[in-house]
């Protein structure tokens, strides 16, 4: 639990939201799927900075959501070419940007079972700029080859694929993805971390420049926006995240006249 922090200090979640927000760039429409509180914060931050652009759709949110055609609208919208940026994670992510949201070990009798592929096997193909994120930067999360391909990082020339990965954000660093080479390239290392730490904890091989920049820390203004403006907006979709990272009281989630029911 936290609340205000001394000026200049920031949490990893805040740094990552800032990094993702920059990656969003000049998008028209950014959507955020299930279990993605940091991407949701990034999208709302980008929208604040853009003065209302891009449109932001947060799957679990009632207020940041213009969909009125049911659960399929997000996917139809992406199929229409009307979704520019999406975020995906994976239990495993490998060096060719394949993601695994299904299982480790034998598919039919796995050692570990994850939640499932959600929309990844579709959105990874049709959304032009997919930002990967993984909050555990380890050799078991970032692997040489995933055990199960929920969605492949690249496809052969004849496969219809206007979309795909552009980057991978972790608590240690930012990778860019090169679709031609099918490889990640280290872009910057976050403050307090080193390239050696990245190499040691990454299960796949990647490119890197001779001179490696540090990821810029979020500015005071960014932190203010995140804490004062974005965080309360996050709470309707991610009450626990908003509470633990930003200290937003959990009762705020039951806004819109919804009373929480504690007992039947």
């Amino acid at each position: 639990m936290s609340g205000a922090r001394p000026d200049g200090e920031f949490r990893t979640e805040e740094l990552l939201a800032e990094v993702m927000s920059r990656l969003i760039g000049d998008a028209r429409h950014v959507a955020v799927g299930a279990q993605s509180p940091i991407p949701a914060a990034a999208a709302l931050l980008a929208r604040r900075r853009g003065g209302g652009r891009p449109w932001v759709s947060i799957l679990e949110s009632r207020t940041h959501n213009f969909f009125t055609d049911g659960g399929r609208e997000l996917f139809d919208c992406a199929g229409q070419g009307r979704l520019d940026v999406f975020f995906l994670s994976g239990g495993q992510i490998d060096g060719e940007a394949n993601i695994n949201l299904v299982s480790v070990g034998d598919y039919r009798k796995p050692k570990v079972r994850f939640s499932g592929s959600f929309g990844s096997a579709y959105l990874y193909f049709v959304v032009p700029r997919v930002i990967l994120f993984r909050l555990e930067h380890s050799r078991r999360a970032l692997v040489e080859k995933v055990d199960f391909i929920s969605a492949p990082g690249t496809s052969s020339q004849n496969v219809y694929r206007p979309g795909g990965p552009i980057a991978l954000v972790t608590p240690l660093c930012l990778f860019a993805f090169d679709r031609e080479k099918k490889r990640f390239r280290l872009q910057s290392v976050h403050p307090g971390h080193s390239v050696e730490e990245v190499i040691e904890n990454t299960g796949f091989d990647f490119d890197r420049p001779a001179q490696l920049p540090q990821t810029p820390a979020p500015s005071a203004e960014t932190l203010r926006l995140l804490r004062e403006v974005v965080a309360p907006e996050l709470a309707d979709a991610y009450p626990r995240f908003a509470a633990s990272v930003f200290g937003i009281p959990t009762q705020r989630r039951s806004g819109n006249g919804e009373a929480a029911i504690r007992n039947p």
């Binding site: 570990v112 499932g116 193909f125 969605a151 989630r253 919804e258 039947p264």
Partner: protein, 272 residues
Amino acid sequence: MATIAGSLEEALAPIADGCMLLVPRGNAGVAMAATRALVRRGAKRLNLVAVPTSGIQADLLIGSGCVESIEAAGVSLGELGPAPRFAAAVRAGEILVKDTTCPALHAALQASEKGVPFLPLRGLLGSDLVKYRPDWRVIDNPFANHDPIVLLPAIKPDVALFHAPMADAAGNVWIGATRELMTMAHAARATVVTVETLHEQNLLDDPVLAAGTLAGFYVEKVAIAPRGAWPLALPGHYARDEAHLAEYARLAASAEGFARYLDLYVHERRAA
């Protein structure tokens, strides 16, 4: 067609053991009171199809031994982590999982809605989902050259089950903007709905309400179940009961804890 059932149990009669049962995602009107009644009834061999994901509903049914197979794009407790009974059952090989992706589920239901044997979908190619779904086909798009595309066969559920804010005496059900409930009802052979309340006028008589109404024509049974989505949300009416869901996540982490949860909240009917 719809009749207002005298009890929740009566309304659930169309959900026979072994049937294919269609249920919505967590914030789209999950019939949790009905789900607990199914567990109490000892429903067996359900082939659950989640539209397109599920959480505590699937986990509860799986943990209670009601489920033979589940088709879903995801099963999880959201911010509270993995769905523990689901994950345990998969690791033990006790249930058959038909892994899919959200838009594939929507498309396969739309195929049933339209009475066509399949619908095509972009994406998917090169995913191991395709490898483990022998019921899917890859063809060359006849409108292009060397353009592979996946065809998804229609999903034809026996029963769709969900919870909604209100119905009327004619069995019309107001679903609002949660339009997948309409597709589910169109795709399923029969639809069973629990609602918070009965609306006194015919919902179709008011053009504003009609815009968000599923006609009773498609509905087999309606039962009144106040707070019937608890502990999940009924958006616009009540929020998720985070404390209860956290308790579920904690207890369901072990088989013993799950049994205790059933004792506390399902079998004792404290939640019905």
